[in-house]
Symmetry: C3
Subunit: 347 residues, 3 copies
């Protein structure tokens, strides 16, 4: 990029303090920014880098202490939002994949939309329906009857099994697996487990993003469903017959067990575990590493294993930190009572 502060301020409706002709050649984090870079303060934690940053310009709020004179300020209501808009405008990545590679395989009974790009060794099986403007990178495999909505982007080495449906504008990162069998077995009297065929599928609605090596199992019957706008980070596990409500985001390495129903607009942090056959309400926030063993019926923030209402969990954690003190107090009380007993017996 090669633009001026003036152009950027115009894009984000900001007010310039300093030289409006300052040239901007890149965007950078404040601690790494160099001459020519535009930066911003993502969170307060990074304010310490303001004194020394080499950035040529910075997005700030109106109440920011603009005490350096060797940097150009662009004052906006929300520097984060403004910065993300600039990234989207100037740095949105383009993926130079186009056309159907001659090593890609498309079954004659598959339907391919217009302007579709298929990379090397891609496999599109019988009955698949691929929407318009879809890009599927190298070595990704779609088994029979998979549907991919318009404008979706599927990276390399992704596996989608038969009958699964992916909505529009999906982004699926490398190594993700969609539609593997649910973990369903029936033990016999000898403790040998017999597979229960998993004959459902997976439905991903529109605007889904799946991280690298995510696993989403097909339903035993019916569908495992991610509703519109769900985002999953890397290595998340979604078991059979789970449903995840609209716009819920789930961080890395979290696992959701079979037939759990997660509400809308939830934020689930990393390494959380949720047991099967329970309901989680809308707008529930789960702190990292929480273990949810019962349904949650009220919006709010929860923490711990087993998960508790956040403030309550923090209170218990404080009590645990106080345990050495409590133990000492109990011991002191025991001595004092002994003393009192002696005194009284003497009296």
């Amino acid at each position: 990029m090669n633009i001026t502060v003036k152009e950027i301020a115009s894009l984000v409706k900001g007010t310039i303090f300093g030289d409006e002709n300052t040239a901007i050649t890149n965007l950078a984090k404040i601690e790494e920014a160099e001459k020519g870079d535009l930066t911003f303060l993502y969170i307060g934690h990074y304010l310490k880098y303001f004194k020394t940053t080499q950035a040529s310009a910075i997005l700030v709020k109106s109440d920011f202490n603009r005490d350096r004179t060797d940097i150009t300020y662009i004052v906006v209501d929300d520097p984060n939002k403004a910065f993300f808009k600039i990234i989207r405008t100037y740095l949105e990545p383009e993926f130079p994949l186009s056309g159907i590679d001659n090593t890609a395989y498309v079954h004659p009974d598959a339907k391919i939309g217009s302007n579709v790009a298929l990379g090397k060794n891609v496999v599109i099986s019988k009955g698949c329906i691929i929407g318009n403007n879809v890009k599927i990178f190298h070595n990704t495999v779609l088994l029979e009857n998979v549907e991919i909505g318009d404008d979706s982007l599927i990276f390399q080495n992704v596996s989608i099994r038969e009958d699964c449906k992916v909505g529009k504008r999906a982004i699926i990162h490398p190594g993700a697996v969609i539609g593997s069998d649910g973990f369903g077995f029936e033990p016999d009297a000898e403790g040998v487990f017999h597979k229960i065929p998993q004959v459902g599928n997976v439905i991903l609605e529109d605007d889904i993003e799946l991280g690298a090596n995510v696993c989403i199992d097909r339903a035993s019957l019916g569908s495992t469903i991610l509703r519109q706008g769900v985002k999953l980070d890397n290595l998340v596990q979604i078991a059979h017959n789970v449903t995840v409500g609209d716009n819920t985001v789930i961080s890395s390495q979290t696992g959701i067990s079979g037939s759990a129903h997660i509400g809308k607009n939830c934020m689930i942090a990393g390494q959380v575990g949720i047991v099967g056959h329970i309901d989680i309400a809308d707008k529930v926030i789960l702190i990292a590493q929480s273990g949810v063993s019962k349904g949650i019926s009220k919006p709010g923030t929860y923490f711990g294993a087993p998960a508790k209402e956040f403030r309550h969990a923090m209170k218990l954690e404080a009590h645990i930190r106080n345990l050495p003190e409590y133990a000492e107090k109990i011991s002191t009380l025991e001595k004092e009572i002994e003393e009192l007993k002696k005194l009284i017996n003497k009296a």
Copy 2:
């Protein structure tokens, strides 16, 4: 499917209450069932859906309150078992992969059994031995001297490294990795880690199922072994030189560290961690997110981190929930003792 309740009742030896000619076109979960569907009650939790289910027929026990007259009942001893039998009979999936694709590579020194199907871009390296009726899906790679037993099903994008052995009737889901190097390093005086070559292999006995993106490391020396009938859910990690006993099932995202020996018929829930170089007895049940830091010599249920006998862990958890009350009691006791001291000193 297009069958009658009569045919189903005959298959599962059930007694019909209602119209034996009721047509069944599909199987469905009770909360999703529509006209033409047969359903069942998987667990009591779903009884609430009985009043409103649109299913045409339902599998129930003899003591079930058959108060709806617009649904046909099939009474059996074990509705779950009966339902799974029906799924297996009518819906068992068939995978339409057959023959050896012309983009698959088979080394001239590999041996391929009869009726083997190899998908697109499959790689079968030198010295591999593939049993009869094996299906290996697209883009799966077997390095040198891998053996796959009869009737095994290996999905796409699976990686099996040299010298590993897979038994009969294995099911291996997409993205699974078998035989990656164990995590073994030797630090020098400067803290630099030097790799210890991992020269063992992995042996999977018969009737193993591995979930998507499972990782099983090869042994440093000897073999990492999963015994007959072991089932691993998605994203499970098995480190070098682990052995897992017959018919043990391990849920998603659990990790077992190097040289741990897990007994037979264990049930290990999700996100459990087990340290290395310990023995776990047969028939041990580990609750989700448990952390096992010592060997377990007795069958039973264990929970927590560090893992404790289940009832004991639940008792401690109850005590933790009581901590605010204990703290208050201690504070009350302190005041009362001060009062008593004053009284006695006065006397």
Copy 3:
């Protein structure tokens, strides 16, 4: 291998007690060793197998009780170190991949070093630079402008996205994903999440090893960096803009959140979670399943969720185990105080 104890003792500078002509045909763990094998005691836990091991020779320290006369001893200062040297000398695996397979794709604008091996269906995109003596196994995909340093070994089904850099002597196991998008979204007023383009890359310095199905996200801006000598076990998650210092090792299923900075020479056990935007000092040891929610500024061992200094965490854990006793003591104290009150009121 087919060597004598004499040759081995010469390699590791050991002293032989027993027959120096004992033939050694293999190396084995003490509990599995058979005639012809050389073994060692990895940790004390395995001493119990010494009485019955079938090994022909064993590496021991000078103070070892050499009471069996049917086995040849090689006395060395450090039996582990000696054993690893022998493994490296005699069993170092060689991977028989050579040349550029005719199904591999190399973009005409990519640069390939000398003595490079590319397996079947490998994809090397425009602008890639591959060093000398690199081996890349089947079905691995490198997008545009990826650089791989000399002598690196990349197994099958690995995904490396555009602009990522891998140093010299890297070992990357199957299914690893390098350069997937960081998990960055901006919520709007309706709770819909909008993707923040992730326009940075990943830099892996020299001597890195990545386990199977590891995920390393590209930076939102700048680089996610693993410094020289970092080793990651299977299924580890590294989020955007993380840096990991030299020679830090991280065990399986651990996750590090965005913009966390991990020091040098740290040892992070399995299933640990580390929140974003914090700093961890050098030489920090984190016990398995720890949850790190704040920066750690001092070297040392930490444990628990939230993570605490190890001895303190162990002390709290002991107090938790004592809770039933504390509760009983409180109850006893309450009764005794009631008794005292009565006595005093009587008096």
